[in-house]
């Protein structure tokens, strides 16, 4: 079988991030949006899992992103990647929010770092895959929704869509080809 893809292999994600951060801190609107696209989803997911509360997860995203622009000057590229730095801020923010939620000194049940690293990789990669799916045509997304996410066979997809089986097969094939291309463009290897 194929080896698991790594988020470290996402070059556009890691490459220009220190510059992206610096540009965001000077008020570059496009850089601000790009940083949001990269991190809001993974941070929200991280928050939902730790805090089990959508409102607090939103507050986590808001606080961490705000800290990012405030602290951009202090980011030291020789010490950590932007990604590690973002999740270091996220971790302390989660603990703050968790304490407030419980109104006690309790500390959130944080798994060990190695395990958490895998979890963050998966969250970041899931975000890139969401972006890759966004790039597909509605027809391609629809056929993947049925053939992958709903787990239907090709015959079932053909019945559902009222299309000839051959059309469904070739549409499934071209949808995956388009997804492969989008993944390649977004730097997902594997």
């Amino acid at each position: 079988m194929v080896t698991a893809p790594r988020v470290g292999a996402i070059r556009p994600g890691l490459d220009g991030q220190p510059v992206l951060l610096a540009r965001a801190a000077t008020g570059d609107e496009r850089a601000v949006n790009e940083l949001y696209d990269l991190y809001a989803g993974p941070l929200y997911g991280f928050g939902l899992r730790r805090l089990a509360d959508p409102d607090l997860a939103e507050e986590l995203v808001q606080r961490v992103m705000t800290r990012l622009w405030q602290l951009a000057d202090r980011y030291d590229g020789s010490r950590s990647s932007v990604r590690t730095w973002v999740f270091t801020i996220a971790r302390t923010t989660v603990i703050d929010l968790y304490r407030r939620q419980r109104r006690s000194d309790a500390v959130a049940d944080i798994p060990d770092r190695a395990q958490e690293g895998d979890e963050l990789d998966a969250l970041l990669l899931a975000e890139v895959m969401r972006a890759a799916l966004e790039r597909l045509s509605p027809q391609h997304r629809e056929v993947l929704a049925l053939a992958y996410f709903a787990g239907l066979s090709q015959v079932e997809v053909a019945n559902r869509l009222g299309l000839p089986l051959g059309t469904v097969k070739s549409r499934t094939y071209y949808a995956l080809k388009a997804l492969r291309l989008a993944c390649d463009e977004l730097g997902v290897t594997g």
Binding site: P12, D15, D28, N33, G45, V61, A122, R130, A132, Q154
Partner: protein, 231 residues
């Protein structure tokens, strides 16, 4: 299943496990015998695993969160006069360093560009130019390179900037040459030219490693020495 074309259109359904057992067996028989279809299959095979990450991930944040978060983002605060002053300082510094600095003032573009020669690194014949233009998006860095030799599998060309005020080089990303060894590259950097001390391109042996460790292919010195800030 007759031939590659027929087999190909079944590959998508095959990796998503949507075929009948008989069709499955036919795809497997074909890909065992056909190298091209096997390689196509290998391209598509990781996709279900990647889609599973989306399936297992927690839900995406509500769309309106973006508006709220971005409302707190910093606003651009570089005044036009300061931009002009920095460009002027950069021009003077460039000329003072004896570099091949050319100020271009095209009739319709308000900002002058600074153009420097990129000189080959040891063992390379790569040459080219690096052009810097102050724009509303930031400092536009444009590289034009010739004589980039082909690289071994997995290696890439990568462009970098250095600034005295930051630790370590700043990666501008991947430079993709054409088959005849030419490349053009554009990047927007924060700040002004006089905040940077060098621009160069390396041949990075491992595309998946974000560190700077490849040999320098071509480089130019920039005017910044860390004392460019005068406010």
């Amino acid at each position: 299943m007759r031939g590659c074309q027929d087999a190909r259109v079944h590959l998508g359904a095959y990796v998503l496990d949507g075929l009948s057992p008989a069709e499955r067996a036919q795809v497997e028989a074909h890909t065992r015998a056909c190298h091209a279809c096997r390689s196509e299959l290998a391209d598509l095979a990781p996709l279900p695993g990647l889609l599973a990450l989306v399936e297992e991930a927690p839900p995406a944040p509500p769309p309106e969160l973006r508006t709220r978060v971005l409302a707190g983002a910093p606003r651009r605060r570089l005044a036009p006069r300061r931009v002009l002053a920095l460009v002027a300082a950069a021009l003077v510094a460039g000329i003072a360093l004896g570099m091949v600095a050319t100020a271009l003032l095209p009739p319709r573009a308000p900002e002058p560009a600074v153009v420097l020669d990129l000189l080959p690194g040891e063992g390379f014949q790569t040459t080219g130019s690096a052009s810097f233009t102050t724009t509303r998006e930031g400092l536009r860095v444009e590289l034009a390179l010739t004589d980039l030799p082909p690289l071994p599998e997995g290696a890439i060309y990568e462009a970098w900037l250095s600034a005295p005020d930051t630790d370590g080089p700043i990666s501008m990303g991947r430079v993709e040459p054409t088959p005849d060894g030419r490349a053009t590259f554009t990047w927007f950097a924060p700040g002004a030219l006089d905040e940077y001390s060098g621009v160069w391109v390396t041949a990075e042996p491992d595309a998946t490693d974000p560190a700077h460790d490849g040999p320098t292919v071509a480089a130019a010195q920039l005017p910044g020495h860390g004392k460019g800030r005068d406010d």
